[in-house]
């Protein structure tokens, strides 16, 4: 049987959106995210919540290998969002990555164009650890002086990838890191330095 979606579709979606909005507006801050979802593994409740809140027929999803291989995951997402599941990561508005350590290079995803930098992907990575007290040093819009962020597991070269992504501003992808019950975000406008 298909796992159910939001208990209260209107207000649950609004709550998830506000957490994502606050996270992107204040990079490095940890936002609480209660989902009430029990999606099929390996889709985490947080990844599912992001998809249900923001994806639809106009905003295709891309799933990493772990998610795409489980037949229950695409079925769950299609039913609850109506979104197309894109084979080509470049077509996705949102990419859901369950195995963050194996996250494809950002260049696989839509970067936007110079005149339309908004036509770019948002990557949502499932992580197990997320803290705003240690790790990378962040600065840029949304950050009062400086902030810190650490997340795991991630590819070893993540800081270098984020640096390249930031260097391409205003083009680039935006990154959401979703741990159990909470999330943080690194928009392309954030400069990330190793701590």
């Amino acid at each position: 049987m298909l796992a159910r979606g939001f208990t209260d579709p209107v207000h649950d979606a609004q709550g998830v959106f506000r957490a994502v909005m606050d996270a992107l507006a204040r990079p490095g801050t940890i936002q609480a995210l209660a989902t009430g979802l029990t999606p099929p593994a390996p889709l985490t409740p947080e990844l599912a919540a992001l998809a249900l809140a923001l994806a639809d027929a106009d905003a295709p999803l891309w799933l990493d290998a772990g998610l795409a291989q489980s037949p229950a995951v695409p079925a769950f997402l299609r039913f609850h969002t109506g979104a197309r599941i894109a084979d080509d990561p470049a077509e996705a508005a949102f990419a859901l990555v369950s195995d963050a350590a194996a996250c494809p290079d950002f260049s696989a995803f839509a970067q936007g164009m110079p005149a339309y930098p908004d036509r770019s992907a948002t990557l949502v990575l499932a992580v197990s650890a997320l803290s705003g007290d240690e790790g990378w040093h962040l600065d840029g819009p949304g950050i009062r002086e400086s902030a810190r962020l650490s997340a795991a597991p991630l590819p070893a070269d993540m800081p270098a990838r984020l640096a390249r992504n930031h260097a391409g501003f205003p083009q680039g992808i935006d990154l959401i890191l979703a741990a159990p019950g909470r999330l943080a975000a690194l928009p392309r406008s954030t400069r990330v330095r190793e701590g």
Partner: protein, 288 residues
């Protein structure tokens, strides 16, 4: 559905809200860049705040407390109308007190009281394109933004100086956001521009007719365009508010008769009322 209206919470259907929310997220990630969005036809006229209303409707939740101002005042007719729209369709709490609000929708002013980090300021924007009156074509202005080619704007401001000795732009004064995009702050008086800089609140801008959303994240550098020999300056008033005695605030000129009688009072009515309620200092000033 709310029982009273038969419409979805905050009027917009969920698909429209998702579309607007996605645009807001990209706007935050690219400060000052105008994200095109499929603005809906709202039950109020274009030019009367449909962009701001759509942004507010997309972000509003049950626990929000909404304040709506027009010209700095909660009591102007369009502010009353928009506040009533949300009180009816979203059943959210509404307030006139700046510090109690979590979402403030505004037209033409930024409140005098400092905003805080748990607030969102939503601006109603008529013409989002700061270059529009220099270059009417969208295809052209889009390229200029892509190339960060803002010479046209500097030339315009400099021509003002040559002709008038001043930059003759008094409202909708262009700003540069986070060192990249030149942005229209909406037709707020330039008096309010410094409040946008390094502001703890998130600032969202909605232009319904022109179908654009843009944003200034909190704590972001917002610089009013100027020249070394003609630095940006705000308006100053040579007298305090006649009601509360406040100085350094924006004042409305109220005509009292046809013989030149006039008084100057706070444009931000909530700010003025709070000062007067706070006691004798303000009242003395009012009687002075």
């Amino acid at each position: 559905m709310t029982a009273e209206t038969g419409y979805n919470f905050a009027y917009l259907d969920e698909g429209t809200k998702r579309m607007i929310r996605r645009a807001i997220l990209k706007a935050i990630a690219i400060p000052g860049y105008q994200v095109p969005f499929a603005s809906r036809e709202m039950p109020m006229p274009y030019g009367w705040g449909t962009g701001g209303v759509q942004v507010t409707a997309a972000i509003l939740g049950k626990s929000d407390v909404l304040k709506v101002i027009d010209q700095g005042s909660d009591d102007t007719t369009n502010a009353v109308s928009i506040r009533a729209f949300f009180a009816r369709t979203a059943e959210v709490a509404v307030t006139t007190r700046t510090r109690d609000a979590t979402v403030i929708q505004t037209r033409h002013r930024i409140p005098e009281a400092p905003l805080h980090a748990s607030q969102v300021l939503v601006y109603q924007v008529p013409i989002p394109e700061p270059l529009r009156f220099l270059e009417p074509r969208e295809t052209e202005t889009r390229q200029l933004h892509a190339l960060a080619e803002y010479g046209l704007m500097h030339v315009k401001l400099y021509e003002d100086i040559a002709r008038h000795g001043h930059i003759a732009t008094t409202y909708a004064y262009p700003v540069e956001v986070a060192g990249r995009y030149v942005m229209d702050p909406s037709p707020t008086p330039k008096f309010d521009n410094p409040k946008m800089d390094d502001c703890p609140a998130l600032q969202l801008f909605g232009a319904g007719r022109e179908k654009r959303i843009y944003a200034v994240p909190p704590y972001t550098r917002v610089r009013s365009l100027d020249f070394e020999d003609h630095p940006f300056r705000v308006q100053t008033f040579d007298r305090p508010c006649a009601l509360c005695g406040a100085e350094g605030v924006y004042l409305d000129e109220v005509l009292l008769d046809d013989a030149g009688g006039r008084m100057f009072v706070c444009s931000d009515t909530d700010h003025c009322e709070e000062r007067r309620a706070d006691g004798p200092i303000g009242m003395e000033a009012a009687h002075a």
